[in-house]
Amino acid sequence: MIEVNNIQKKYGKKQILNGLSFTAKKGEITCLIGVNGVGKTTIMKAIMALTPIDSGEILIDGQKIRHDSFEKITFIPDTTTMLPTMKICDAFEFMADFYKSWNSQRAEDLLRFFKLESTNRIGNLSKGSLAKVNMILGLALDVEYVLMDEPFSGIDIFSREQIAEVFTSHLIEGRGVILTTHEISDVEHLIDRAVLIDDGKVIKQFSVEDIRENEGKSVVDVMREVYR
C-alpha cells in the first residue's frame, strides 16, 4: 500500500500541498482528480522522491522510498524520459541493463500491441506514440505499483483507446495504480477509487463502485457536489 500522510509543500510562497493524505492499495486503480495546478503531478513526484516535501511522510508498503524501491514502483510522467537520439530498442536495452524487474517479453508484446517499430527513433515520434513508449517503459517493469501522470493528455482518440485498453488488461491486474487526470470522463469507467483534491488537500475520497451502487452517482456527479 502507498500511504501519503499529511504532506506539505510550498513553491516559493505558494502552498501547493497542505496536509494532504490518502492511500492507494495494491490491486486498485486510484485516480487523483483536480483542476490544473492543484498539485497532482507534485504528489506523484513526491512519492518518487523527485521533489522534496516540506513535511509529512510517504510510505510504500510501510517503508520510505529507497533506491531499491524503484524495482517495486515506477512512474510514467507525461514527458519523455529517454533520450531523443535513442531508438525504441535502445531504450529497451537501457531498461534491461539497469532494472532486474524489466520484462523484455512484455515490452515486445506491448510494442506489437501499440503497433510501434523498435527501430523508430524516440525524437521522431508523435506525442501519441511517445505516450505509448512511456507506457511500455513503465508497464514492462514487473513492479507492484505504477504511477501515471495524465496518461491521456493531448493524445488522439485512437491512442487513448489503446491506452485505455491496457487498463482493463492483465498488464494492470494485481498492481497498485495511481493516475492523475483533470478530465475524469477519460478514465471514469476504469478506476476503483477517486481522490478529489483542492487547495492542497484531499476534499473527498471514495470507492467509485460504492458511490455508484449506494448513491447512484458517477464521479462527475460527486465532483459537481464537491467543487461547486
Binding site: 523527485l50 510522467p77 514527458t79 539497469f98
Partner: protein, 275 residues
C-alpha cells in the same frame, strides 16, 4: 558497482562522437601545423641561402638552428589544445544541465534507476576525468609522431634537438603534462576536486533554484578558499613551514573539500533534488 560502470559507459557513449571529432581536429591541426611550420621554415632557409648565395655551412655559421619548439609555439599546435580544454569546461556544466533541459527530461529516468543516486554523480565525474586523460594520452602519442615528421622535413644540420623533457617543462605544458607521478596526482587530483565542487554547486542550484545559485556561489568560494588556504598560509608565513608540511596540509584540505562535495551531493540527490 555494476550500475556505476554501466553509467560511465553510457556517459562516454553520449559524448563519444563529439569527442572523436575534437580528437581528429587535434590530430589534423597539429600534424598539418608540424608540416606547414617545418616547411615554412625550410623555405625561408632555402630562400636566404639562394638569395645570399650561401653554402649550408655558411648559413649554419651565421644563423642559429631551430627546434621543434617552433611547432609547439605555433597556433596550429596550441589552438586545438585550448579548444579541447574550453569544450571540456563547457561540458562540465552541460553534462548535468542537458538532463533537465531540451526536448526530453532524462533526469526522470536517471533518478528513478534502482541504484544509489550518487552513482550518477560519480559516473559523470569519471567520464569527465576519462575524457581529460584521453586527450592527454592523445597528446603524448602525438608529440613523438610530430617530432618524427619535423625531423623528416628539417635536415639535421638546420635543427637542434628538442628533447621531450623540454617540451613537458615549458610553462603551460608542465601543468598539462606533469613530470613526476606526485605532480601528476597533485594536478589531476586538484582538477578532480574542482570538477567535484562545480558538480555539487550545480546540484545546489538544481535543488534550490534561485536560492540555490547564491548557496552554490557561497559553497564554491568556501571550498576553493579551504583548498588554497595552505598555499596562502605558506606565502604569509614564508620559511615557517617545511614543503612536506604544506603538502600534508594541502592533502588534508583536499580530502575535506572532496569529501564534503561528495557528502553534500549525496544528500541533495537523495532528499532535495527537483525535476
Amino acid at each position: 558497482m555494476k550500475s556505476y560502470l554501466k553509467l560511465v559507459n553510457f556517459e562516454i557513449n553520449r559524448f563519444f562522437k563529439l569527442y572523436l571529432i575534437i580528437m581528429a581536429l587535434t590530430v589534423v591541426s597539429q600534424i598539418m601545423g608540424t608540416i606547414i611550420v617545418s616547411k615554412g621554415n625550410m623555405n625561408y632557409i632555402n630562400q636566404v641561402i639562394y638569395e645570399n648565395q650561401l653554402s649550408v655551412s655558411q648559413y649554419i655559421e651565421e644563423n642559429r638552428p631551430f627546434s621543434f619548439q617552433r611547432v609547439v609555439y605555433s597556433e596550429w599546435f596550441t589552438m586545438p589544445i585550448f579548444f579541447c580544454m574550453a569544450l571540456l569546461m563547457i561540458y562540465v556544466f552541460f553534462i548535468w544541465y542537458r538532463e533537465w533541459f531540451g526536448k526530453n527530461t532524462f533526469i526522470y529516468r536517471l533518478l528513478m534507476l534502482p541504484a544509489e543516486r550518487i552513482t550518477i554523480y560519480f559516473s559523470k565525474l569519471t567520464a569527465i576525468m576519462l575524457f581529460v586523460l584521453g586527450l592527454i594520452t592523445l597528446q603524448i602519442i602525438l608529440v613523438p609522431i610530430e617530432t618524427f615528421i619535423f625531423n623528416r622535413i628539417v635536415p639535421a644540420e638546420f635543427r637542434t634537438s628538442y628533447p621531450l623533457i623540454d617540451f613537458y617543462s615549458v610553462e603551460i605544458w608542465r601543468w598539462l603534462y606533469p613530470n613526476t607521478i606526485i605532480e601528476f596526482i597533485l594536478m589531476y587530483g586538484i582538477g578532480l576536486i574542482v570538477v567535484a565542487i562545480i558538480f555539487t554547486a550545480i546540484l545546489l542550484e538544481r535543488s534550490y533554484g534561485l536560492k540555490g545559485i547564491f548557496s552554490a556561489v557561497a559553497y564554491s568560494v568556501l571550498s576553493f578558499g579551504i583548498l588554497v588556504a595552505p598555499v596562502i598560509l605558506s606565502s604569509i608565513y614564508t620559511s615557517y613551514f617545511y614543503p612536506s608540511e604544506i603538502l600534508l596540509m594541502e592533502l588534508v584540505t583536499s580530502i575535506i573539500v572532496l569529501g564534503s562535495a561528495f557528502w553534500i551531493a549525496n544528500q541533495l540527490l537523495k532528499y532535495k533534488i527537483r525535476v
